[in-house]
C-alpha cells in the first residue's frame, strides 16, 4: 500500500521514531520530577506505537507497546511508583521501539525472532507489579537520579525530527576504538538491526508545513506578480495609440487642417498620464518583485532550518544513562533550544555533541563523594547551550567538574613522545590544550567504553572544521571545562568579510578568521627577514594574500588591511588591499570546469551582479604558515644551501603536528627538500602546485584521508608513477592491503621511524624511479 510515495511501513517507521524520542525524553523527565501529569503523553505515545504496529502487522512491537502502555497506566493511577529500575526497563522498551524504526519491512520477521526473547522478558517485567520491578534490573551502582532542569520539549507532530537524526540514538552511539573494560550501560548494546536500512536512493527531508505553506504562498505571489507585466504591456499599447493619435493631429496640422492647440494639448496630456501611470506601475512591480524574491530566498533558507532542540533530543537520556552507570549525580541544563540552524549542520553536530557530553560525564565530572570533599555540590551540572553571536552559531558543552589537569597533559605529551620537555615547558595553555585534538591522544589513564578524552576529540574537531566552524577548550582547575564550537548557521548563506586582493573582491567566511585591522605602511617592520606587524599586542608574521594566490601584486597604496588567522597555535596575518565590507553571501560551488582550485572554496554572485570568490581560509592559513616558516628558514640560512646540486623533493602529508615535524626533520637531515601538508586535501593542492619525487602520507586524516589521496593521485596520468609511501599506526594486514590496493608503493608502520626503514624505503623508491625514467 502506498500513500503519496510513502508505504505504510514508512509511516510506521516515522511514528516509531517520533514517539520513541518523545518516550525517551519524557521518561527521563518523569524520573526526575515524579509528576503524574507527565505520564499521560507517554501513555499516548505507547498507545500510538501500538496502533501503528498493529496496522503494519508488527506483532512483536504491538505486544511490547501494549505492555508498556499498561505499565504506564498503573504509574499514572498511582498503583505503582516510578523507580530508577522501572525507568531502565521502560527505556529498554523505548530502545527497541526506536530500533524497530530502522528495520526494513522485509526484515520484520527476522528482527522479531532475534529480539523475541528480549521483548518477552521485558513484557513479563512490565506485567509484574512494582514490588518485583526493583529486583529485576538493579542499577550498576547506587546512583542518584539525575535531574533534567530544562529538558527539550518532545517534538510536536508538525515538526517531526528528520529521519536521519534517529541514527544517533544513545543505543546506537558508536564508541569504536576503545577497549571495553567496564560493563556496558543498560542501553549501550547496539544490535546489527539498529543500523537503519536506506529505503531508497532519494534523500527525503522533513520541512515544517508552515514553511512549505509560506513557500507555496510566496511562489504563487511571484507568479501573480509576473502576470502583472501583462497590464504593463497593455498600458504600453495605450501609450502607443495615444502617440499615434498625437501624430495624426500633427499630420493634419502639417497638411493645413485646423487643429486647436487645446486638442493637441489634451492628446499630449493623455499620453503623459499613461506614461506616468506606467512609470508608477513599473516601480511598484520592481519593488514587489524584489521583496518577493528576497522573501522567497529567505523562506527557502529557513525551510532548511531546524531548532537546536533537535540536536539535544538524546542529551538528557545520554546523561541519565551514563551518570547512572558511573555512579555520578548530574543535572543537565539545556538552553537556546529554539535557536535555529541548518539541517545539514544539525546532522553533523549530533555526534560531536553526544561525544562531548559523554566525555564531560566520564572524565570532567567527579564522583559525588569527591565533589563533596572538594567543597562542591554533590550534584554536578552539564550545560549545553546554543546562541547566535555575530551571525554565527555558538554551541557550548560545559561541566563544573575538575577541569583539565595541565601538568598531566604535559606528562602525557612527553609520554607519547609528541614533543620535547623543553618545548612542552614553554607551551602556553592554548597550545597544550590543542594536543587534545590530535588523533589518538587521550589523557584518560584507562580507556573505557564510554569515552577516552582525546579518542574522538579529533573527530569532533574535524567534523566542526568540515562545516567551516572552529572549536576551542576553556578549562579552569576545579571549576570545569567548556568546549566551545563556533559554527555557521547555514551552509547555503555565509556571513563573510569582503576584501580586495589584487584589485578584486574575495569573501572570507567570518567563522574562520580572527579579525581585520587597517594598518599603515609605518606599522610594518622586518624581523629576521620576515614582515611583521603588531596586532592587538601580538607580533604577527605577515604574508601577502596576492602572492599566496599567485596573483600579480598591485602598486602599494600606503595603507593595507591585515586579516588575522589562527593556524597551528599561531596567529598570522594575511595582507589584503583593503576591507570592502561585511555581507551575507549565497554560496555556489565553483565552476567545475576549473577542477579543484587551491585556496578557493566556492563562489558567489553579489547584489551588483559581480562575482566574488570565497576563499578556503584553512588552506590559505596553512600555506601562509608554511611560507612564513620557509621564509624565516631561508632568512636564517641565506645562501648556505643555494649552491647544492638538485635535491629530491618529498611531500609529507600528515595531520599530526608532531609526526609531521618528525618526518620533516628526518628527511631534511637526510638531504631532501621537504614540503608538508596537513591533510589529504592540502596534499592534493600541493601536488597541483608543485612537482615531487615522492609522497609520504598518513592514512587517517580529516577532509581527505590518505587512501582517497592515493586514489586521486593514481587517477591522474601525470602522477600515475609517483612513488607514495603510506605511514600509519595501523599495522594490521588488512590495513596494509587497503593502502597498497589504493595504489601506495609501500606501506610502513610508524615504528619505522625508530630505525632506518623509512629513510631506506624513501631512498630506494626515489632511486628506482630515477633509473626507470
Amino acid at each position: 500500500m502506498s500513500l503519496g510515495g510513502f508505504s505504510m511501513f514508512d509511516l510506521y517507521r516515522q511514528e516509531a521514531e517520533q514517539h520513541g524520542r518523545a518516550l525517551s525524553d519524557g521518561l527521563v523527565s518523569l524520573e526526575s520530577a515524579s509528576d503524574p501529569s507527565l505520564v499521560e503523553p507517554l501513555m499516548r505515545a505507547a498507545h500510538s506505537v501500538k496502533g501503528a504496529a498493529r496496522i503494519v502487522g508488527f506483532d512483536a512491537l504491538v505486544k511490547l507497546a501494549h505492555a508498556m502502555e499498561d505499565c504506564l497506566v498503573r504509574i499514572q493511577k498511582g498503583a505503582e511508583a516510578i523507580s530508577a529500575a522501572r525507568t531502565d526497563q521502560l527505556l529498554q522498551g523505548v530502545d527497541l521501539i526506536t530500533q524497530s524504526a530502522g528495520v526494513a519491512e522485509s526484515d520484520v520477521a527476522s528482527w522479531s525472532a532475534q529480539q523475541g526473547a528480549k521483548i518477552d522478558s521485558l513484557v513479563k517485567q512490565f506485567e509484574q507489579g512494582s514490588a518485583l520491578a526493583a529486583t529485576v534490573s538493579p542499577p550498576p551502582t547506587a546512583a542518584p537520579t539525575p535531574t533534567v532542569v530544562a529538558a527539550a520539549s518532545p517534538p510536536v507532530s508538525s515538526a517531526p525530527p528528520t529521519p536521519t537524526a534517529a541514527h544517533t540514538t544513545p543505543a546506537a552511539t558508536p564508541t569504536p576504538t576503545v577497549t571495553p573494560t567496564r560493563a556496558a550501560t543498560p542501553t549501550a548494546t547496539p544490535s546489527p538491526t539498529a543500523t537503519p536500512t536506506p529505503t531508497s536512493g532519494d534523500v527525503s527531508v522533513m520541512v515544517r508545513t508552515r514553511s512549505l505553506d509560506r513557500l507555496m504562498r510566496l511562489s504563487s505571489e511571484s507568479l501573480v506578480e509576473s502576470r502583472r507585466l501583462e497590464g504593463v504591456q497593455q498600458r504600453l499599447r495605450a501609450i502607443r495609440s495615444g502617440e499615434r493619435a498625437l501624430e495624426d493631429l500633427f499630420d493634419r496640422r502639417r497638411s493645413g487642417a485646423a487643429v486647436a492647440d487645446d486638442e493637441l494639448h489634451a492628446a499630449h496630456q493623455r499620453v503623459r498620464a499613461e506614461v506616468a501611470q506606467l512609470d508608477a506601475d513599473l516601480q511598484a512591480h520592481l519593488r514587489r518583485s524584489e521583496e518577493l524574491g528576497s522573501a522567497l530566498h529567505h523562506e527557502a533558507v529557513q525551510s532548511r532550518m531546524r531548532p537546536f532542540a533537535d540536536a539535544c533530543i538524546t542529551v538528557p537520556r545520554t546523561v541519565r544513562d551514563l551518570a547512572r552507570s558511573l555512579g555520578k549525580d548530574v543535572a543537565v541544563r539545556l538552553s537556546g533550544q529554539a535557536v535555529s540552524l541548518d539541517r545539514d549542520i544539525l546532522r553533523k553536530l549530533e555526534a560531536p555533541l553526544t561525544h562531548l557530553v559523554r566525555n564531560a560525564i566520564d572524565h570532567g565530572i567527579e564522583l559525588p563523594s569527591d565533589r563533596s570533599a572538594a567543597g562542591k555540590p554533590a550534584q554536578a551540572t552539564i550545560r549545553v547551550t546554543a546562541s547566535h553571536q555575530a551571525g554565527m552559531l555558538l554551541v557550548e558543552v560545559g561541566d563544573d567538574g575538575r577541569g583539565i589537569d595541565l601538568d598531566r597533559l604535559r606528562a602525557k605529551i612527553l609520554e607519547k613522545k609528541l614533543s620535547t620537555q623543553e618545548l612542552v615547558a614553554r607551551m602556553g595553555e592554548r597550545e597544550l590544550l590543542d594536543f587534545l585534538f590530535l588523533p589518538g591522544f587521550s589523557t584518560a589513564s584507562a580507556l573505557t567504553d564510554i569515552s577516552g578524552r582525546g579518542v574522538g576529540l579529533d573527530v569532533v574537531q574535524s567534523t566542526v572544521h568540515e562545516v567551516g566552524g572552529s572549536v576551542e577548550v576553556i578549562t579552569a582547575p576545579q571549576k570545569g571545562t567548556t568546549f566551545r564550537m563556533r559554527l555557521p548557521v547555514t551552509l547555503s548563506v555565509v556571513r563573510a568579510a569582503i576584501v580586495s586582493i589584487g584589485g578584486e573582491p574575495y569573501a572570507l567566511p567570518l567563522a574562520r578568521m580572527e579579525r581585520i585591522d587597517r594598518l599603515g605602511e609605518s606599522d610594518l617592520a622586518h624581523v629576521e627577514g620576515r614582515l611583521v606587524a603588531r596586532v592587538q599586542e601580538e607580533l604577527v608574521g605577515l604574508i601577502r594574500a596576492d602572492s599566496l594566490l599567485a596573483l600579480p601584486q598591485p602598486a602599494p597604496t600606503g595603507s593595507i588591511a591585515v586579516v588575522s588567522l589562527r593556524v597551528r597555535q599561531k596567529t598570522l596575518g594575511l595582507i589584503v588591499d583593503g576591507f570592502l565590507g561585511e555581507e551575507d553571501i549565497v554560496v555556489s560551488p565553483l565552476d567545475d570546469r576549473f577542477g579543484s582550485v587551491p585556496h578557493v572554496a566556492a563562489m558567489s554572485v553579489r547584489q551588483d551582479g559581480g562575482l566574488v570568490l570565497i576563499l578556503d581560509l584553512d588552506a590559505l592559513g596553512i600555506d601562509a604558515a608554511r611560507q612564513l616558516d620557509e621564509g624565516s628558514l631561508r632568512g636564517a640560512a641565506a645562501g648556505s644551501e643555494r649552491s647544492t646540486a638538485k635535491r629530491h623533493r618529498v611531500l609529507v602529508v600528515e595531520d599530526s603536528l608532531t609526526v609531521r615535524e618528525v618526518e620533516r626533520q628526518m628527511l631534511t637531515r637526510a638531504g631532501y627538500d621537504v614540503d608538508v601538508a596537513v591533510d589529504g586535501l592540502d596534499g592534493w593542492n600541493a601536488l597541483q602546485r608543485s612537482t615531487y619525487d615522492l609522497v609520504l602520507s598518513d592514512v587517517d586524516m580529516p577532509r581527505m584521508n590518505g587512501l582517497d589521496l592515493v586514489r586521486r593521485i593514481r587517477a591522474e596520468s601525470r602522477l600515475a608513477h609517483l612513488p607514495i609511501v603510506m605511514v600509519s599506526y595501523k599495522d594490521r594486514e588488512e590495513d596494509r592491503r587497503a593502502g597498497l590496493e589504493a595504489g601506495a608503493t609501500a606501506y610502513l608502520t610508524k615504528a619505522a621511524f625508530h630505525d632506518r626503514t623509512l629513510l631506506d624505503t624513501v631512498a630506494d623508491l626515489i632511486a628506482s624511479t630515477a633509473h626507470g625514467t
Binding site: 596573483l551 576549473f594 578557493v600
Partner: protein, 180 residues
C-alpha cells in the same frame, strides 16, 4: 542579415548605421544551404562564429581572475546576465596576435550551452551573416597556420575573409586552458 540582431544592448551610432545599411540592401531569396554566422572583429582579424552555437552577444563584463590558474588565455570568470561563463582571450587560445595590453574589448561573444558557457572578448560585432555553404572556402595554409585547429574555413565578408570557427575544437582547447 536574415536573423534578428543578437545585440540587445544600446547600439552606438556607427553600428546603427552599419545595420541600417545592411537592412537597406535588397533582400535576396535565401538558399537552403545558408549558414548563419555571427561576425566579430578581434584586432585586425575577422572571425565568424556559427550562429547556432552562440548563446548571446553582450557588452563586455570585467571577469574575476581565478587564483593559481596561470594560462595567459584565461581571463577569469564572469556573471553574464545570470550565466556564469569562463572568459577566454580568443587570440591567445588560438595563438595569434597576442598582446597582453590588447586594450579593453567592448563586446563578448558567449558560446556553449547553459551551465557551461564560454565568453570571448572581441572588439566589434557588426551583426550576423547568412553565407551559402558553397561560398565557404578552405583556409589557405598561411592564414590558418596559427589557429589551424580552430578554423574550419573562410567566410567571404565585406571586410575580407573571416575565419569560420570550429567551435568544438575551440571549446576543447578552452577546457585545457581553465585547468592549467
Amino acid at each position: 542579415m536574415s536573423e534578428p540582431s543578437r545585440t540587445p544592448r544600446p547600439i552606438d551610432a556607427q553600428t546603427l548605421q552599419a545595420q541600417s545599411d545592411a537592412f537597406a540592401r535588397p533582400v535576396e531569396m535565401q538558399r537552403k544551404q545558408d549558414v548563419h554566422v555571427v561576425l566579430a572583429r578581434i584586432g585586425s582579424s575577422w572571425i565568424a562564429f556559427p550562429a547556432a552555437r552562440v548563446l548571446r552577444v553582450t557588452a563586455a563584463v570585467a571577469p574575476h581572475r581565478v587564483p593559481h590558474r596561470a594560462h595567459r588565455a584565461l581571463r577569469g570568470l564572469a556573471n553574464i546576465e545570470g550565466e556564469i561563463a569562463a572568459v577566454i582571450d580568443f587570440a591567445s587560445v588560438c595563438g595569434f596576435e597576442w598582446s597582453p595590453a590588447g586594450g579593453v574589448k567592448s563586446r563578448m561573444v558567449v558560446l556553449g550551452e547553459r551551465g557551461s558557457a564560454w565568453a570571448f572578448e572581441v572588439d566589434e560585432v557588426p551583426g550576423t551573416l547568412a553565407v551559402n555553404a558553397d561560398e565557404l572556402s578552405v583556409a589557405p595554409v598561411t592564414v590558418s597556420a596559427p589557429h589551424a585547429g580552430f578554423t574550419s574555413g573562410l567566410v567571404p565578408t565585406e571586410h575580407g575573409p573571416a575565419g569560420m570557427v570550429d567551435v568544438d575544437a575551440l571549446l576543447t582547447a578552452c577546457e585545457g586552458v581553465v585547468r592549467s
